[in-house]
């Protein structure tokens, strides 16, 4: 039993990382009252931009990841111009961004299909990684996994304990009131949206540079959408988001192993399992209406222009 369990759990965190990153980004964006449905598109743009950067810099992982972040921010800024500054419908702009991202990444990616990268070796954290069972699962991961979890701590702490977090929640709940007491609502929403784009771009670049270090068209495979769903079902709470992402990661790895066992179940069905399981569990744990109402950014997807 243990010899099956450990590799599954080791893989879980890596598989969860893109969702943690993209989900945290979307959580920040949505907390400010902006619903950006373009996460899938931003991840793909980040993935191809990161991959191209890494290939162009002789395999520099760091530059590649930064390239992914920059591309994600750029993609989010296109969304922000339309949905924030011009107050266009956020759902429509987000969908457009996703469709655009799918197409653009496929177009750029044509010349990168045959390339591959070295990826990243795990960093074993001294002492901790030698703890039996827990050590290899938690502390023999690649650096981006650690980064994702650090970012989780940072975001959760910022939201709960700092004025920045308070302001973000305030703007998301009532942009009118935030404006009335003198905060630049549009600027805050812009920043939150760009931050979300950066996170999504990093998530995409992680997929193409580290997780499976090659470019495959549409390689995010709906992870962006799952991230958006995670944010809602997690009631905009980072810890629930993290748990949801880990659940998805765990089932992803689990079904790979199940495929390897040669069960008489169609592979497609197994591949759908992480999505199904994640949604199901999240629906079940988010049935508390009060929790949702208290945490829902009340102005979500409602445009706000000051002075109207």
């Amino acid at each position: 039993m243990m010899d099956h369990l450990t590799p599954i759990l080791v893989g879980t965190l890596g598989a969860a990382t893109p969702l943690v990153l993209a989900g945290l980004g979307e959580l920040i964006t949505e907390r400010s009252g902006v619903m950006n449905l373009g996460v899938e598109g931003m991840m793909l743009i980040g993935a191809i931009a990161g991959f191209a950067t890494a290939v162009g810099t002789d395999g520099s992982v760091i530059l590649g990841l930064l390239g992914g972040v920059a591309a994600g921010v750029l993609a989010a800024s296109a969304f922000a111009v339309l949905a924030l500054s011009l107050a266009a419908n956020q759902a429509a702009c987000g969908l457009a961004l996703t469709i655009f991202g799918v197409g653009l990444s496929a177009f750029i990616g044509q010349s990168y299909v045959s390339h591959s990268l070295a990826g990243l070796q795990p960093w074993a954290i001294p002492v901790l990684s030698d703890v039996p069972f827990v050590g290899p699962i938690l502390f023999r991961q690649d650096p981006v996994v650690y980064l994702a979890f650090l970012l989780y701590v940072l975001v959760a702490w910022t939201l709960a304990h700092t004025k920045v977090g308070l302001l973000l929640r305030a703007v998301g709940e009532s942009p009118e009131a935030a404006h009335a007491i003198g905060y630049p609502v549009l600027g805050i929403r812009w920043l939150a949206t760009l931050t979300g784009g950066g996170f999504a771009g990093l998530a995409g670049a992680y997929l193409s540079i580290v997780y499976t270090p090659l470019w495959v068209q549409n390689m995010t495979a709906g992870r962006g959408w799952i991230s958006v769903a995670l944010v809602v079902f997690a009631a905009w709470k980072p810890t629930r988001l993290l748990l949801g992402a880990c659940l998805f990661g765990g089932v992803t790895i689990l079904q790979f192993h199940a495929q390897g066992l040669g069960l008489d179940v169609p592979v497609e069905l197994l591949a759908a399992l992480p999505y199904l399981a994640t949604i199901l569990v999240l629906v079940l744990i988010s049935r508390d209406r009060n929790l949702l109402l208290l945490n829902l950014p009340a102005s979500l997807s409602r445009p706000f222009l000051p002075g109207r």
Binding site: T162, K163, L166, L167, R169, A170, E173, S174, E176, A177, A178, H179, A180, I181, G182, Y183, P184, L294, N295, A298, P306, G307
Partner: protein, 505 residues
């Protein structure tokens, strides 16, 4: 009154003009406020006071005119810029964040280090000092309207402003608390803070304010020293005619008990709400029973239990002898209960729907629905009748509810309920944020309705209003109802003490 620059003025407005399409909200408005002066801005709702205040506070830009701040011309581009200058504002429509706690709301408006624990202490001490007790840890969505206003006031006081703008700040306070607030404001004025005080309560302006600027239809119609005027002369400047007063004829029919509430106890669905504790009352046909008290003392829970929004034990509420406690709101309306809730926009009416559609929401019982199909012509006709009968100023029955002023929308909502010929009418805060003329009309309407044999229960935080229209008055404090007393046997001080509840003793 000279318009030349007054060098030692704290704030001077010269020729402020603001147009919204065809409507001129502010037309060449000029006024001057000296340091340490309490200056009243008197005017009806819709007179342009709010627009003017928003211009001063930077939330709206004037089309023309100048603003001088401590003798220097300034452009207040945003509320933030206004706060930087030292202008604080207590909004009439609160600018609070519902899912954040009191102290978090206040922290957002303050500069300086972010330390919630220390701030909570300051909030506690300042709020107690000014007689506006607040629990800093409570979430704003669980606060009553009155408590929310306290948050706004305390938030402003913590900003140490040079100019404090207060928009109808006393409507939710007990008479004692009003006196305390006035002491606070006078103290602030002595310390050099200028105060712009917007109110329609003439006696308050007379007792508090040094000078007054009266605005009607966007224009300044007079400058006055309130202490040298009479309420009647101020009212004339404000509304252009005599102050109306309510005619109370005695009820000539035979009274019978319409609403009977026996030992009604109900937990509050809100974790921070007030549970009702054995509330008993009777309302006879032909009378108005007033329930005084500060919001948050069980008012919401009582209205929910009586209107049917939160059904209770069957026998606890009886309508003309019939136990209705278990019925939902729709079933109770079928039996002749009318209800005007406190929030006009969002509860009494749907802001984005036309008056005609809003009429349909409760008046569909008046033959507007046949075999499940809505007759929009009948709804429109009903709405037109309400508009005509109650003098609702609006752009017709297709006007959106949110396009009406507070007073006119309230007239429409009250009218909608009355036009359904209820046997019992529950009204919560009938004239909240309503201008003097409309308020007088609403009060007279309620009195007239009761004299036709309808039983009316009014919950209000405005004591003067209850004294004006009620036959009997009871006080709800801490979820308990005091025994109703005939109006003649009540006085404001005694009611005020009951309102403050046992914790004040």
């Amino acid at each position: 009154m000279t318009l030349a620059s007054t060098p030692d003025a704290r704030l001077q407005l010269i020729g402020i003009t603001k147009r919204y399409h065809a409507l001129v909200a502010n037309d060449q408005i000029s006024l001057t406020v000296a340091p340490g002066e309490i200056h009243a801005v008197l005017g009806e709702n819709g007179a342009g006071k709010s627009t003017l205040m928003k211009i001063i506070y930077g939330a709206v830009r004037a089309d023309a005119g100048q603003m001088l701040w401590n003798g220097r011309q300034v452009e207040v581009a945003s509320p933030e810029a206004a706060r930087r200058l030292g202008i604080g504002m207590v909004f009439q429509h609160f600018s609070l964040f519902e899912t954040l706690s009191v102290v978090e709301n206040i922290a957002l408006a303050l500069e300086g280090p972010f330390n919630l624990a220390a701030l909570a202490e300051r909030v506690r001490s300042v709020s107690t000092q000014y007689g506006l007790p607040l629990d800093p840890g409570r979430l704003v969505h669980s606060l009553s309207v009155g408590e929310r206003q306290r948050v706004e006031i305390v938030r402003c006081l913590l900003q140490n402003p040079q100019l404090l703008i207060l928009d109808e700040p006393t409507s939710v306070l007990t008479p004692q608390a009003v006196q305390k607030l006035f002491e606070t404001l006078r103290q602030l004025a002595r310390e050099g803070v200028s105060i712009l005080y917007i109110s329609h309560k003439l006696h308050e302006i007379q007792s508090l304010c040094d000078r007054a600027t009266v605005i009607r239809s966007g224009r300044v119609t007079g400058h006055a020293i309130p202490s040298q005027e009479t309420p009647a002369s101020l009212a004339r400047m404000m509304i252009g005619r005599e102050l109306p007063h309510t005619e109370m004829a005695p009820f000539t029919g035979t009274p019978h008990t319409v609403l009977q509430v026996d030992a009604l106890s109900a937990a509050s669905p809100d974790p921070f709400g007030t549970a009702l504790d054995a509330v008993s009352l009777q309302v006879q046909s032909g009378e108005i029973l007033g329930i005084a008290g500060i919001s948050g003392n069980g008012q919401n829970e009582l209205m929910a239990a009586l209107s049917g929004e939160a059904p209770v034990a069957s026998a606890a509420v009886k309508l003309e002898g019939r136990a209705i406690g278990h019925l939902d709101a729709g079933a109770r309306r079928d039996l002749g209960l009318g209800f005007v809730p406190e929030e006009r926009l969002g509860r009494g009416a749907v802001p984005a729907m036309s008056l005609s559609r809003n009429a349909l929401l409760t008046a569909h019982r008046q033959g507007m629905v046949n075999y499940g199909l809505v007759s929009y012509t009948r709804a429109a006709e009903f709405a037109r009748q309400v508009i005509a009968r109650f003098g609702v100023k609006c752009g017709g029955e297709q006007a959106l509810a949110r396009s009406l002023s507070g007073g006119n929308l309230q007239k429409f909502i009250v009218g909608r309920e009355i036009a359904q010929n209820p046997r019992l009418l529950l009204v919560s805060q009938p004239t909240w944020g309503v201008d003097v003329g409309a308020a007088a009309q609403l009060r007279q309407t309620l009195v007239d309705l009761s004299r036709q044999g309808v039983a009316i229960l009014v919950v209000s935080e405005e004591l003067e209003e209850l004294f004006e229209i009620c036959d009997r008055i009871a006080v709800l404090a801490g979820g308990r109802l005091s025994p109703p007393q005939p109006r003649a046997a009540c006085n404001a001080e005694a009611i005020g003490l009951l309102m403050a509840g046992p914790q004040a003793a």
